[in-house]
Every structure is written in structure tokens, then in C-alpha cells.
Amino acid sequence: MADFDAIVVGSGMSGGWSAKELCERGLKVLVLERGNEIVPERDYVDQMPPWEQSNLDRISEDEIAAHYYKQFPGVSYAVKESNKHFWVKDDEHPYETAAGTEYDWLRGYHTAGRSIMWSRQTYRMGPQDFEANKKEGIAVDWPIRYEDIDPWYDHVEKFAGIAGNRDGLPQLPDGQFQPGFELTCAEKEFKSRVEAAFPGRKVIQARVAHITAVTAEQRELGRSNCQSRNRCHFGCTFKAYFSSLNATLPAAERTGNYTIVHNAIVQSLQYDEVSRRITGVQVIDAETRETRFYSCRVLFLNASAMASALILLQSKSTAFPNGLANSSDQVGRNLMDHVSGAGASGLISGFENKTIFGRRPGGIYIPRYANITEHDKPYMRGFGYQGSATPLGNAGGQIAGIGREFKQAHGAAGPWRVSISAFGEQLPNPNNTVTLHPSKRDQWGNPLAVFNVGYGENERIMQVEAGKDSVAMLKAAGCTEISSRTVTLTKPGNRIHEMGSARMGRDPATSVLNGWCQAHDVPNLFVTDGAFMTSSACQNPSLSYMAFTARAAHYAADLLAENAI
């Protein structure tokens, strides 16, 4: 008799969904979280007004140098003095990169993981994203198509709460939306001018995981509508944005089937060569260093794409000398993120006597048009832009003027600033890897991760073109003082859209997982974080992780009910 029906490794974006769906199917579930417990009433700092923050909420430079030397430069917009407890200390969680490469591994180790600090833009993948690898002969074919995941997008959207407009775009399918955040007047004008100049392009509302018309189910979980505070990176007392802690974990808990253990760092997954099944998980307590074993009937890896691959690589046995479920040698390969660097900003006139009220999440989104509605591109795939058009105000003091006029510029008549930034698809490449360091270990005895990731020509060319396109659109919109950036690609990992490290595919010889996120080699092992992604598309991926997780959890529950695994 196993300790639990199911063990879920990780309580973040996808782990919360595994826990919820499996618990709701009546399974006894244990969630293993490597970090400490976050208690919203104690640890959210979203209610702190600006004047109670110290030093403009900046972490001291010496402290950054000692503890946040990767996290802060990577996510400086979100890593603050008041919420630094949501980010790992780099000196406590080191990793290595291959000579001549860089990697931003930006993390939070605690209840709900990075679902607390994410930026909440939420898009479906489109039919083209599941077909591209096969059409273009890149990597391996996705084993499923859009139609397979479509109902699961519906399923997770209804529960999570997604605010957005139904735009009717085939490449960015509509979903179960709550009312979106209306475009500003300048954004509406930008939209009409860009769409007139470029008939294949659309400017739409960003779709965000925020409640705007709370449902009965969401209310039961203590959630309420977004209050337009823009305090999301500090937690949300209103539980208005989706996170595991605001939504899925409480839903799992109320079933009575849910147990979570914190400070439980996985050392290995135990594999039984006779039954050819995982029997359980060996963990070490982060605080006491005590080791424990938990047995289970089915295991869901949701540790994050990188950490899940590392756990598989750490779990060696006679049957799997190169890591569990790794007969294909694809575990830890094909690492993908999204690539940014291109973008532009400028001023738009005509709205001097208008302003905005409230601080919405998200702004505008320009869905991918490259190789969808426009086919003249010197690169494959494409990118989307995130952006906004809002009053310039005093621009943090970076406008001309002194005295009364300058002091009151924050709310005075003036120009608006348009800004857009590209997020591009990264092609899968088997030589983009995460591996175990041969000798260096962390303080708990686990091998350090070694990243060896770079961008290819397609990503480089795409970003340069995205930069040109961004300037062209701002020009077409009549913007002035357009400043475009020299395109410097973001470091791999920097967009925190980690994926691909245990891809799904049709052939066990070339992929780790089947179309249900189930390991080809080990039937009671499911990996449903970003690791399963066969290609990256260019949309922010969290919604896909949620949908694939829910689908896999129900499939696993069916198999367990049939005693098939």
C-alpha cells in the first residue's frame, strides 16, 4: 500500500493544477515543495504603501552582490526589498554555465513557486504551433494537435479567470474570457493606425490571468475582482490574479485529499525494475537534512522544466544509467525560452487632455503575424509584442522642466508614450542542454546544474527584423521621438519561459513523453511543467502548462482507476 496515490513534485504554476485535478478525482495527493511555506496573510506585502517602503524599495547594492547577483539583474523590475523573500538567494542555489555561454535561472523556492511572481500574460497556442515542426522538418512532431488541447484550455481558463477580448484570430484562439481591460484612447488610435498601415497585423488587449467578473467558484475560494492596483509582484490579498496559492492549492485542500510538505528537496525518484514503475520519492529536508522516502502509485513532475530534467538525470538505475525515462537521451536537451531584445518607444500626440485612472495589469498585445499573414520573412516562425500607450507624466523625473510646472507634470496635459517589446520563438536545438555537474554539489548533496544554451541564427535574424518592424509601426502610428534599441538579445532563460527539457513526441527513440505527458519509458511518470513542450511557439506559455497538466491528470486518474498503471 503506497503512502499516497499520487505525488506531485513542485507546487508552482503546473504543480498546483496537478494537485487540484488529482485531488478532485478522489486521489490522495502529496505535494512536495522544496522551499518554505508562504502564508498570504503573513508574507504578501501588496498592502504596503510607497512611503512605508525603505529606500524606494531597492535592495542594497551590497546585498545584491552577495545574494541576488543573478536574480536582480535578470528581473530588476520585480525583485524589490519588500518582496525579496519571493526570490532565491543565488549564493544558496548556485548553478554553472558552459564556457562562453550565459543563462538566467530566475527562481522562487516556496509555496506556489513562480506563480506568485509571474507577469500573468495568458495566451493559447494556436493550430499552427502544433504543426510547424512537422511542416518545417524541425526537431520532432508534436504528438497532439490544437483540437486535443482546446477543451482543456476552456477548463483551466474558467477556473483561473482570464481577462481578455474575443478577437477572432485563428493564430491566437479565443477562450473562456472574463471582460478585458479596455485599451487606452491612445492605444485605440495606435491600433487603428497600425492596422490600417499593416493589414495583416492586429493590436489587441493583453490577455491576463486576472478576475474581472468573479464566478461563484472563484468566490468560494476567497477570490475577488482585480482592483487595478498593480501590486501583483508582491502577492495579492484580493487573490484576483491566478497563482497556485490564490487558486489551485486551496481548491486541492478543500477536497480533504491534499497534503503538502515543505522544505522537501528531491534527491531521486525510485524505480522498480520488476514492475517497471516509479515506487516513490527520496527527499532531503532543506532545514534538518533528514532524508525520507514517500511511496506513491503515480508521480507528477512539476518542479519546473529545468529542475524536472535535473531530477530525472539524478535518478539513475541499472535500467536507466543516464537518468530515469531517458532512453531517448533527450532529457535535458532542447532547452527553450522566448527571446527578446527588439522593441521601440515613442510619443503619440492627440491625447494631451486625457489621462487614465487605475493601474491595470497588461496593456496591448500584437499577436504573431510573421509567417502567418505576412510571408516575406528571412526567418522561420515569429514573435508577438507586448506594450502599452500611457501618459508620459513626469517619467520618473526624466522630462525637462523645473518648479511648479515640473512638479505638477504627473497629472498635467501632455504627450503619451507608446512602447512595444518583442517576444520571439526559439527553435528547439538538441545541443541546448542542462546537465549535472560531474563533481560540484549543492549544500544538500545534489549535483549543480550546468547550462549550455545559445541562440541560433533564426533567433538573431528574427529579433533584428522585429526591431525594424517595431520602428515601422510606431512611424506608421505617427509617433515622434522614436527610440529604438540596439538589438541585444536577452540571455537564455531571462524571459522565464523555461521549456523543452523532456519533450513530447510520437517516437520513444526521439522523445521523452507521449502526447499525454506520460513518460514513454515509465508509465506512472508524468511531466507536465514546461519540460513537455516540443516547440516554444511565441506566446507566454503558462496557460499551456496548465491545460496540459489538467489533461494529463485526468488521463492518469483514468489509468489508475483501470489499474492500467
Partner: protein
């Protein structure tokens, strides 16, 4: 609240300038935190930052930068937040800025026009104004991070409760 005249006198006395006090007899422009508790600025730097803060964000129908002790806030921030290199850089930039503005800027009757001219140059593509632009940013952000600046001047609302994308000013 002390009158500006009172805090001005406190500052001038603290930097030892009885003659300066006479020089700006009718220029009640400078206020400052208790300079005895300075952690980062020298008295001269504090006088400079205070003068600039007051000219940038004067008292209107809402408190000015000096009323909410922006110079003292920045003094603490530079002591606690900045590392040694940033501190040295800030000292250097203030020295350079002092030279650009002139030796008698702190007490000069035409300080406002002097700063206005420098500001115009700094925001019309001029080079060499990085120190000034950074200080202006710091003063502005510090002011709006105070309770008075946020609530009285910026009308910051903790819980807007709604999003209105287009409002008449």
C-alpha cells in the same frame, strides 16, 4: 512645520556661513534635515541637493521637496542602499554638478534661472548631464514616495478598484 526661513537659517549656520545668511536674506528657499545626523552628504553637498530639490519641487498648494525632507531621504538612501562605488560616484557627480552650477549657486538670487538653463541643456540632447539627470530622477522618485507627495500631489490611490482607460484631465 518650521518656516522656510527657520530651516534656511539652520542650514546656513550649520555650514558656517554667517555671511551667506546675509547674502540670501530674502531668499527663503532652502530647507534641510538636521545636518548633524547626515550619514552620506557633506554639508556642502546637502546644501546643493537641498537647493536643487527646492527649485525642482517647490512648495505650492502641496508640500515641497524640502517640506518632506527629500534631501534627508536621499542621504539615508545613499548611506544604506548604495555600495562604495556608487557612493563615490555620487560624491563625484555632486562635485561636478556644483562646478557646473557655480560656486554661489546655493545662495544666489538667480539660482532658479541657472538651474533652468542647465535643465534645458540636460534634456535637449546635451552630454555630460548624466549626474544631474540621475539626481533629478532620485529627487522626483523620492518625493513621490513620501506620504505627502503620493497622496497630496500625485493623488495616489491604494485601491483604485477600477480601470478607466480614458479620463478628461
Amino acid at each position: 512645520m518650521k518656516t522656510r526661513r527657520e530651516v534656511l537659517q539652520g542650514l546656513i549656520v550649520s555650514i558656517g556661513g554667517a555671511s551667506m545668511l546675509a547674502a540670501c536674506d530674502n531668499a527663503a528657499r532652502v530647507a534641510v534635515s538636521n545636518s548633524q545626523s547626515l550619514r552620506f552628504f557633506s554639508d556642502q553637498e546637502l546644501a546643493l541637493v537641498s537647493r536643487i530639490s527646492d527649485l525642482l519641487l517647490p512648495r505650492t498648494d502641496t508640500p515641497g521637496a524640502l517640506d518632506v525632507n527629500v534631501p534627508g531621504f536621499i542621504d539615508g538612501l545613499m548611506a544604506e542602499w548604495a555600495n562604495t562605488r556608487s557612493q563615490e560616484s555620487q560624491h563625484r557627480q555632486l562635485t561636478e554638478l556644483g562646478h557646473m552650477l557655480g560656486a554661489d549657486f546655493v545662495t544666489a538670487a538667480d539660482a532658479e534661472s541657472t538651474l533652468r538653463e542647465l535643465d534645458r541643456a540636460a534634456f535637449s540632447g546635451g552630454t555630460g548631464y548624466g549626474g544631474y539627470r540621475a539626481l533629478k530622477g532620485l529627487i522626483t522618485q523620492s518625493y513621490f514616495a513620501t506620504e505627502e507627495g503620493a497622496l497630496l500631489e500625485q493623488h495616489w490611490v491604494a485601491v483604485p478598484g477600477r480601470w478607466d482607460p480614458c479620463v478628461d484631465i
